[in-house]
């Protein structure tokens, strides 16, 4: 096009991936810098995040000081489920959690600024912030998972490593998709942060429980529709070679990536639907 600005041509020439990622890197680097700039405040953030993680872990421990097994799992095995779920969730929360600030943007009308920049809205929003304090929470999850792996009687081999990697990666992707899913709904429920928090954090809580204790409706909701059982419980069951409960056979642990894909399809559909609503009806 004859009238394209010189900058547009420059952008076309520099099509490398590095160049494509430059906008996101620039924002994220400055966000990370600004969070670490106030050392005391950052340390307090990390500390409080650590405390929350420990309290949740303590809850599991309290339950198991009263019973020896829950849903066919022992404490060490639950520790593995809890750790995997918590690690995957904390990392998703670190990189996607700020999507729940969307209602603030909508109320203040500042979402429009994202429309004026030449990147996809969702990618801009995801990379608009990063919550480094969640690293503390992730550390609690990693520690719990490590202890679980070491003590739950896992037989080490390529199969176990593969399940662990697939489980964590899929768990991360599934939780991340939950944040996108919830954000898409925010376009319709301007004051819906509470409602979507309930299912995002409720989902996280469900993910760190053995799915075998769930009733059938719960298995439908958190086993398949919001596939929380696939983020930690099912990969752990497969890894440990435990018999799966009704509707959730042991081999399903290998299907964690399918759950992640399903969650992303639903999340992106929801997001698209929300964006359409914003451009078409709201504003």
């Amino acid at each position: 096009m004859a009238s394209a600005s010189t900058f547009d041509k420059g952008a076309v020439q520099a099509t490398g991936l590095r160049e494509r990622l430059r906008p996101y890197r620039a924002v994220l680097a400055s966000r990370a810098r600004s969070q670490r700039a106030y050392r005391t405040s950052f340390a307090l953030d990390l500390g409080s995040s650590l405390l929350v993680g420990l309290v949740e872990l303590a809850e599991v421990w309290v339950i198991f000081s009263n019973v020896t097994a829950l849903g066919g799992m022992h404490f060490n095995q639950i520790l593995l489920v809890f750790g995997m779920a918590d690690l995957a969730f904390s990392l998703a929360d670190l990189s996607f959690g700020h999507l729940d600030t969307l209602p603030d943007f909508l109320r203040a009308g500042t979402l429009d600024a994202f429309y004026l920049r030449p990147q996809p809205i969702l990618l801009q929003l995801i990379t608009s912030d990063i919550s480094l304090r969640r690293l503390a929470r992730a550390a609690v999850g990693a520690a719990a998972m490590g202890i679980g792996l070491a003590t739950a009687g896992v037989s080490w081999g390529p199969r176990t490593v593969a399940l662990l990697v697939i489980g964590l990666a899929s768990g991360y992707a599934t939780f991340a998709a939950m944040f996108v899913w919830a954000a898409g709904l925010q376009f319709f429920l301007l004051d819906g942060a509470e409602m979507t928090n309930a299912f995002v954090y409720g989902g996280r809580y469900a993910a760190s429980q053995p799915a075998s204790v769930w009733s059938r409706p719960l298995k439908l909701i958190f086993g398949f529709f919001f596939p929380m059982a696939f983020t930690a419980y099912l990969p752990a069951v497969t890894m440990l070679g435990l018999p799966g409960p009704d509707w959730l056979p042991t081999w399903l642990g290998w299907c964690a990536p399918a759950a992640a894909v399903w969650s992303w399809v639903m999340g992106l559909l929801c997001w698209r639907w929300g964006l359409r609503h914003y451009q078409g009806g709201g504003g």
Partner: protein, 342 residues
């Protein structure tokens, strides 16, 4: 490809709003047809809620039109939003697009990355904007600590960093003091001269229109009520300037001066107000005529108030539709909302 930078054809936007228990259709922009050429400076004025912001959102791909079409910079705003963003800069006077907790310099660096500027482009353009908008004194200060005037200049620089062909400013001078307004206007005039940038601005400030715009669009209830230049606007509505003179001694009313009309006298004629039509007589000539009759100590010239101009345009457009095209549409001008079943 047509050469126009904005080409709207029957652009319409309706909103469904909840009014108590009933739902209504509110027509925010109603069949807007307008063509803006590259390099023009256009003032887009109208009362609050007349449809200005809705139009801007449709031009930039934020909102999807209900009907009609618009081409901005040769692109369709909604499907080509990302390409369009590289050619358009938008300043929202009341909504910051900067990162409130980052220094101004850092915001510019991020925006340069967002618009994929090369290092040379980034440093040249930043240097130019810093010089022209006098940002040097507060580049390292976080945006949240800036005064309103400083923040607006930083906002304008941020929106113009990628050298857009079209700059849209939504109330750019709102809340600014006289000096800050003046500086910002001078910058925009210079930017347009240097780069041939097209300007579209909404404002409530007649000064903005007079000093920046060579074409005015007035929108009323989503419809175009006037399209032309400023003198033409004043002619259409008969907006008059007012000369206020303070005299040395109480004097009789200064009636019967050519091209002017005596409005009022205060303090027994010490202060008198004379309305005059700028098309017929200059302020200087009128002052000379007044000076022949009385000893003038002080004077001020009041400009026509934009709200007043808009009000007169509205009154005129309702008694006599602006264009035949509009007259043939179903009448819905003042109450452009129609009831819809729940």
């Amino acid at each position: 490809m047509s050469g126009a930078i904005i080409e709207a054809d029957g652009l319409t936007r309706e909103f469904r709003i909840r009014d108590g228990r009933r739902r209504r259709l509110l027509t925010a922009v109603d069949g807007l047809t307008v063509r803006i050429e590259p390099g023009e400076a256009v003032g887009y004025i109208g009362a609050n809620g007349a449809g200005k912001s809705t139009t801007i959102k449709m031009l930039t791909g934020i909102l999807v039109p209900t009907a009609g079409s618009v081409i901005t910079c040769g692109l369709r705003p909604v499907p080509d939003r990302r390409r369009l963003a590289r050619q358009v800069g938008v300043v929202f006077g009341q909504r910051s697009q900067l990162w409130w907790d980052l220094p101004v310099r850092e915001s510019f660096r991020i925006l340069a990355a967002i618009h994929a500027l090369t290092t040379a482009q980034e440093s040249d353009r930043t240097a130019e904007l810093v010089e022209q908008l006098e940002l040097g004194g507060f580049l390292s200060i976080p945006v949240r600590q800036l005064s309103l005037g400083q923040r607006m200049r930083a906002e304008v620089a941020a929106a113009l960093l990628h050298s857009p062909r079209l700059v849209i400013l939504d109330e750019p001078t709102i809340g600014l003091d006289v000096l800050s307004k003046q500086r910002l206007r001078e910058f925009l005039v210079g930017e347009r001269r240097r780069h041939g940038t097209t300007l579209l601005l909404t404002t409530h400030d007649m000064g903005d229109v007079e000093r920046l715009c060579d074409r005015i669009l007035v929108i009323d209830h989503g419809r175009l009520a006037y399209d032309g230049d400023l003198p033409g606007l004043s002619r259409t509505v008969g907006a008059e300037r007012v000369l206020v003179v303070d005299l040395a001694e109480p004097s009789p009313d200064l009636t019967g001066l050519d091209g002017s009309r005596h409005l009022s006298s205060e303090a027994g004629g010490l202060r008198q107000r004379l309305a005059f039509d700028a098309e017929q007589i200059t302020a200087a000539k009128l002052l000379a005529a007044v000076s022949d009759k009385a000893n003038v100590l002080d004077l001020t010239v009041e400009e026509p108030d934009i709200e007043d101009v808009v009000r007169r345009i509205y009154a005129a457009s309702r008694s006599r539709p602006y264009s035949p095209a509009e007259a043939s549409r179903p009448a819905a001008s003042p109450a452009s909302s129609t009831a819809m079943s729940p």
